[in-house]
Amino acid sequence: MSKVVIIGNGISGVTAARHIRKNSDKEILIISAETEHFYSRTALMYVFMGHMRYEDIKPYEDWFWEKNRIDLMFDYVSHVDTDNKMLEMKSGENVTYDALIIATGSKSNKFGWPGEDLNGVQGLYSYQDLQLLENNSRDTKRAVIVGGGLIGVEMAEMLATRKIDVTVLVREDVFWGNVLPKEEGEMISKHIRDDHHIDLRLNAELEEIIDNGNGRVKAVKTKDGEVIDCQLVGLTAGVSPNVEFLKTSKLEIDRGVVVNEFFETNIPDVYAIGDCAQFKETVNGRKNIEQVWYTGRIMGETVAQTICGNKMSYNPGPWFNSAKFFDIEYQTYGWVFNELKENQADYYWEHEKEKICLHLIWNKNTDEFIGINTFGIRLRHDLFDKWLKEKASIETVMTELRNANFDPEFYSHYEKDIVQGFNDSTGKEIRLKPQKWWRKLISA
């Protein structure tokens, strides 16, 4: 019986373990230095805000692992010896493997800012970061968050619940401007600033973090020379692969562990998945390092097949994602970039009063539907997945928009308004179809 060792107990590693167990009788060991059990990283913010306890963000009860014969080890891998197929642990123990999966995730980016290692300066990625934030926020009156992205907005929301004044420095001219088109970015910026009283500074960059003389932050200085007093600095300008410990190994490391589409590294029987993997060539038009919950899960599902003898390459379907900015939910299906690409046309609709909007992108020559952003309206993933695979036209999407709605029952519907506006701005004559049962649509 061969032994599979997985380093990292996040969504990627745990999904791999579960699927290897489904398909084989192999010995499985998951090693983590972060927590004893798998927890949902995306839910750390809710523990800080008091919505849940740590135990509530563990997707499986603690007996699950033994029942499924998945061994757990709470230790840190300090060296990977691929010649002898052996891991050297911090505790001094050695662990052998027949197949090794590296799924060690990310760490928060630091860009060499002066003062970035002071006390009170931190990112938000791991369980340890959460513990640190609990300590760092204790006597904090004002916090400065550097970076306007998904972790930045989470951290702002978290700290605001502790009655801490929050300043967010965003390099772009709207929130998450490197991803969101200007219209959505402006709406979200307004929500953060006006509705939640966050001091949002756009076009603002960090110059340095200032020491209070005792090794703790006392202020930050922006590139404009402004000094903002604060007791806590959140660094949320992205994350990068957590692969430092592999630098002493023979594995090829660039920004992440370099892999092909089968997650194979340069060394046989060693695979890398999740945030820490870097594809030599991008797959299905995606980034070569993907740091998303569901891509980690898909990689875990896929590598498990290969390890169980059914060699399979990474093949994610059409892009999708979701997030929440304070009160506003966001979903996206297909590709919507912050600026239109060549041959793309778009239509943006925003509610008159409320912060609800929708942004459609299509090919202006072929009318092929390319992507949709939606804020405050829930949409059906399976339907958009189908449309994107079929290369459905923008006409199809608009005509069937009612069937794509996934909002709770009795919610107000805006499809009529959206299609009206779409017709007015494009000169097309879309007639909205009445809502029919969506399953019929999918099997049709």
Partner: protein, 478 residues
């Protein structure tokens, strides 16, 4: 770490954040409650009509003021900040205190109504708490209050007051607004006003020529087997009482139709939510007064196992007990194979299930075990509809493809203790006997993953394969 900081002191760390409206509202509502407690303690007031008005208004207005202070000025959206930091909602000292007071109230209500002042005065007049409600009872039906009248009045006041709080809390979600208005109307109208008015019009609960004609449950929606004494002899007789016709017979026929025909049909189309979180009184209290405690239900697999044994055992018991009762009624006997029906069947069921389970544990333990203990572990009506919902219904909670991030908000805030996340993260729909369709999992989901809906039974379970939508390397098994 937040976990270690769980606050068990009476003055939780968030107390300092109470604003003026919250403080005023709390003082007002607690004053009203205080008057109830004082009269419960045996103090009889002299002007009950005035004091009762003060009690009702102060509790209602105080709750509304507290609600205003809590949610006004905040954006519409999920309001669960600090739930696990507050003593009241995290099984701290305040939570335990509330639980003990509620439990004590039920103990007195069921077994020691005299301690509430029921018929303890001269010539059997009421004193204390029961006497406080005499004026209202006289207003409706020209006779003094019973402990049940007091209970019904307070119950209704609580559902209406805290229903308003719930609506404001979830004002961004129209499903919650509509179903909460529905439970408020059902309680105030069907469960409270209609029965009292019928009694006032001499169609129920009256004496004629010195003879008491009997009483039947005139709450149109209180259906057997939740209403376990529906088929008791005295209840059947009361509904057939000449003086109560035609209303009494309408209730008798409706009661049987409701159980036999109406319930299965509606449950087939929309799931058991039509009852549990839209009209039911127990559900109404759980959804309004019990809302702050919904996360306290256990999500463990072991709790689910216990639930299935308990709730179905109660269902079997109520069928047995009722069958024996009807045997006694139609064969005009008080015994069943030598066993006295009252002593061996009705009394134990009423004592263990009716009083201890549904009242004391069901409501008294809200702040300790969550707000749906009775609905989840004990209610035979829920068990009956649950079987229909699980095996023959169009209702499901649909999971939105591969959008789930396993955060656990859905499971945590499921009052029925369903591990919603376990399904959602696999792309499976949630088809569970116990789901009461409150819709909170869908509301608290940060990624728009869950939707309560009715649809064809075909493919009702959602994703059947191990691979979740979004991975094209696999064929999803259909």
């Amino acid at each position: 770490m937040a976990e270690q900081e769980l606050n068990f002191s009476v003055s939780g760390k968030y107390a300092q954040y109470l604003n003026l409206w919250q403080k005023l509202g709390m003082i007002l509502a607690l004053s009203g409650t205080g008057i109830i407690l004082i009269t419960w303690g045996g103090v009889s007031l002299t002007n009950n009509a005035a004091w009762l008005t003060v009690v009702i208004l102060s509790i209602f207005i105080g709750t509304v003021m507290f609600t205003y202070g809590t949610y006004a000025g905040k954006t519409a959206g999920i309001k669960n900040d600090g739930v696990y930091f507050r003593s009241h909602t995290a099984r701290g000292a305040i939570g335990w205190a509330v639980g003990i007071v509620l439990t004590a109230f039920y103990v007195f209500l069921y077994w020691f109504p005299s301690y509430l002042g029921y018929q303890t005065g001269v010539n059997g007049t009421n004193e204390g708490l029961i006497a406080l409600f005499d004026p209202l009872s006289y207003f409706f039906k020209g006779k003094p209050a019973s402990q049940w009248f007091v209970y019904g009045s307070i119950y209704t006041l609580v559902i209406v007051s805290l229903g308003i709080k719930f609506i404001v809390k979830y004002r961004h979600n129209r499903y919650h607004i509509i179903r909460t208005i529905s439970v408020m109307i059902a309680q105030l109208g069907l469960a409270y006003l209609v029965p009292e008015i019928l009694a006032g019009m001499n169609y129920n609960d009256v004496s004629q020529g010195g003879e008491y004609l009997g009483w039947y449950d005139a709450d149109l929606k209180n259906v057997w087997p939740l209403d376990y004494d529906f088929f008791y002899g005295w209840h059947l007789d009361a509904m057939q009482q000449k003086a109560y016709q035609p209303i009494g017979m309408i209730y008798l026929v409706w009661g049987i139709l409701l159980f036999l025909i109406v319930t299965p049909i509606i449950t087939y189309f929309v799931g058991k939510r039509w009852y549990c979180s839209w009209v039911c009184g127990c559900g109404g209290l759980a959804e309004t007064a019990g809302d702050p405690y919904r996360h306290l239900s256990s999500k463990k697999l072991s709790a689910w196992k216990l639930e299935r044994w308990l709730i179905h055992a109660v269902l079997v018991l109520v069928f047995l007990m009722t069958a024996v009762t009807l045997y006694g009624y139609f064969f005009n006997t008080g015994t069943f194979f030598g066993l006295e029906i009252y002593t061996y069947f009705q009394k134990p069921y009423g004592f263990v299930i009716g009083a201890i389970f549904s009242g004391i544990v069901g409501v008294g333990f809200y702040p300790l075990l969550g707000n749906r203990v009775w609905c989840r572990f004990g209610c035979p009506m829920a068990a009956y509809m649950g079987i229909i919902q699980r095996f023959k219904s169009r209702f499901r909670i649909t999971t939105n493809g591969g959008q789930c991030i396993s955060c656990g908000n859905c499971s945590t805030y499921c009052e029925q203790g369903i591990d919603v996340r376990a399904y959602a993260q696999k792309g499976q729909n949630i088809v569970r006997a116990s789901c009461v369709g409150c819709g909170v999992c869908s509301a608290v989901c940060p990624r728009g993953v869950l939707k309560l809906e009715n649809g064809p039974e075909e493919k009702r379970l959602g994703n059947e394969g191990p691979i979740v939508l979004g991975n094209d390397g696999f064929k999803i098994e259909k």
